[in-house]
Assembly symmetry: C2
Homo-oligomer: 134 residues x 2
């Protein structure tokens, strides 16, 4: 699971890089865990702090993780986002207010919800809009 997470994070890293964004991927927790997101990406106009989730079925985001992402992003001046990539699907990006809380106060992500409330990578980086404007 950890390796798969790293693989999809690297995939997203390269997608931003290909679009000429500046992007950095976190080295992970290290000896003493320091809360930071998986990716930080910027293009001179927008700065994003992104927590990645990937896998087959439903994904969960811990309430604590959301709070840490908010705090991290605030100090960086970045927009906090959750990026989710279900198997055989493309990436979807959700703002934190689009997440649904479970009874246990954690947040839940499924493909239906992601497709309804999230935006695609091309929409995120503005490619789709540009194409429409032409």
């Amino acid at each position: 699971m950890k390796n798969k997470g790293s693989r999809t994070e690297r995939e997203l890293l390269h997608m931003f890089w290909k679009e000429k964004w500046s992007v950095i991927r976190s080295a992970g927790s290290g000896v003493i865990p320091i809360p930071n997101p998986d990716l930080v990406a910027g293009n001179g106009k927008r700065l994003l702090a992104i927590e990645c989730k990937s896998g087959k079925g439903r994904r969960y985001v811990k309430d604590k993780q959301v709070k840490e992402l908010k705090e991290f992003s605030k100090k960086l001046g970045a927009e906090p986002l959750i990026a989710v990539r279900f198997d055989n699907e493309e990436w979807f990006f959700l703002t934190l207010n689009k997440l649904v809380k479970t009874k246990g106060n954690n947040l839940i992500l499924d493909i239906k919800h992601a497709k309804k409330h999230g935006i695609t990578f091309n929409e995120l980086i503005g490619k789709y809009k540009q194409r429409k404007l032409k």
Copy 2:
């Protein structure tokens, strides 16, 4: 050398974290190398993109690395900085215009130059000034 570099990078990561900055350390180049700095750190007022150098004697920064740091920082809206930690010395932080070019167009760092043109961690994060103002 690689491990030592990682160790000093982690040291600096924790120094920022202890001062309540948001900080992320790069996972490194991965399969396809993507230019990004060792650390990105922000406190809500300042955003820094930091390339770390550490070791015993003189350190060199490649001209290409400086250009990449500049470009990365511009898109992130961050200040590009070189952080250098010589053995048994504290960290010194230098802006790119304070680096001296060698004949080979690379940039050179030694402890004398770092002490003269760099600032310490406490000066960087504003601790020293705050102490003086009290």
